[in-house]
Symmetry: C2
Subunit: 271 residues, 2 copies
């Protein structure tokens, strides 16, 4: 048993889709979440900048006594996971390996698609991991740089002409390639799940990278005897680097519960 | 005569549309530009965060010996101009007053439209300034939160279905209101000028806030005897808070000239 909290961070509110799954699966665990809303988005920034920001995010989270850190951000997982894991003496869990494993388990044809931010796709990290697990896999990858701004502006409902236009534009190559599994390699994308599913049709399994990494967290806690003594009633703390009020308003959409008034703002550049 | 440089800053590359006009109009002036590409966009962030970032931007620019600072950013001009002007002992020029003056001079019917970021529109600064100059003006304002991500991703050409869809969605109220003048209240928006003009038709005058503020800079230098002794060959320095290479690539589109290799990266949070 280990009653310390699990730290989770993301560039903004997208990582809350992973926290939502974490709370559902492991309701007794305490969670400290940091969303870097003062510097979102990460996915269009340079690699050195992303590494700098990610180090500060982890340094802030580690001002709490943690048993593990979850990188609920596709961009950081693909560009800085190894560095963060080396620099920290506790388990650091990203979204790439879990999502790749879930995709390999789900595919029947070996034709796997991947969507993510510009930096995530440029890193090639998902493809390398999928091919390591399944050498014969055919991976089709595409950056969808406008999906994050779309979601952050509340535009993700099926039937919204803007959403349908962008989904069709970005996902046409996956229809062409006849993938049977698509990795949503950015934690913002699950909000677009209905629109993406409607476009690709029922034959395509969608893998949410945030939800997949919660499987890995659960396995780790079980295997290493790190589960919280509580099985219900975990405490959840939320921090953001921009307005706490703005974060609270948007967070309720991603988290599926109202946390207005429970968010505190911090100055991330001081970490 | 005053041979000191003019400092110009923006949240990212958008302010280069003002620098382009500055170089054209005042080719002898030295210019130091800072684009906060490590923290762009500003327009969706909270007011306190924008003020903090803007103070750091000015502090960096003032590490050079300047004769004036230009805020080539609609969001900062509408939320932090007064604070920055109070805290600094040199002229600080924003985009609001110049653009409002240009719009009032251009309108025949008094029906003026305004587009800008969420924070800019929420501030009400443009409307207040227009009504001060022209009390009978009818101002229609609308936030266009997806225009900046669109432009930053290189999507601004007329004929692009995504551009046409968003322009039509955001600008329909201005057709309805029969404005004869539209203020482009964000320095990213001039790249969308052709698409906006095609949608609104020839009867509507488009006011670029960045270009308008250069008029004010020229008047100030003239009136206060601050012009550079040179009339040609001004030196231009470019700084960014994210990758210099990425800035250089995007900057050439906004500036209309290639500055690859002339950009340096700085750590803005240290200022």
């Amino acid at each position: 048993m280990d009653d310390r909290a699990i730290g989770v961070f993301d560039s903004g509110v997208g990582g809350l889709t992973a926290v939502r799954e974490l709370i559902r699966r492991l309701p007794g665990e305490d969670v400290v979440y940091f969303g870097d809303t003062g510097r979102v988005p990460y996915g269009s920034r340079g690699v050195e900048t992303i590494i700098k920001y990610a180090r500060q995010d982890v340094a802030f989270l580690r001002s709490f006594d943690l048993k593990a850190v979850v990188i609920a951000c596709g961009t950081v997982s693909t560009t800085a996971l190894d560095i963060l894991a080396q620099e920290n003496s506790l388990p650091v869990i990203g979204v790439v390996e879990p999502a790749a494993r879930a995709a390999v388990a789900a595919t029947r044809t070996g034709k796997i698609g991947l969507v993510g931010t510009k930096t995530t796709i440029a890193s090639g990290a998902y493809e390398r991991t999928v091919r390591r697990l399944m050498p014969q896999a055919e991976v089709t990858a595409r950056a969808c740089p406008l999906f994050v701004p779309l979601v952050e502006n509340g535009r993700y409902q099926p039937g919204d002409p803007l959403v349908e236009l962008l989904v069709a534009e970005y996902l046409a190559p996956f229809k062409e390639a006849e993938v049977d599994t698509l990795i949503l390699g950015c934690t913002h994308y699950p909000l677009l799940r209905d629109a993406i599913a409607a476009y690709l049709g029922e034959g395509v399994t969608l893998i949410s990278s945030g939800a997949a990494c919660v499987d890995t967290v659960a396995e780790l806690l079980e295997a290493q005897g790190l589960k919280n003594a509580k099985t219900q009633g975990g405490e959840h703390l939320y921090f953001a680097s921009d307005s706490a009020q703005d974060f609270g308003a948007l967070a309720s959409i991603f988290l599926g519960q109202d946390i207005q008034g429970q968010v505190r703002q911090i100055a991330i550049e001081n970490y």
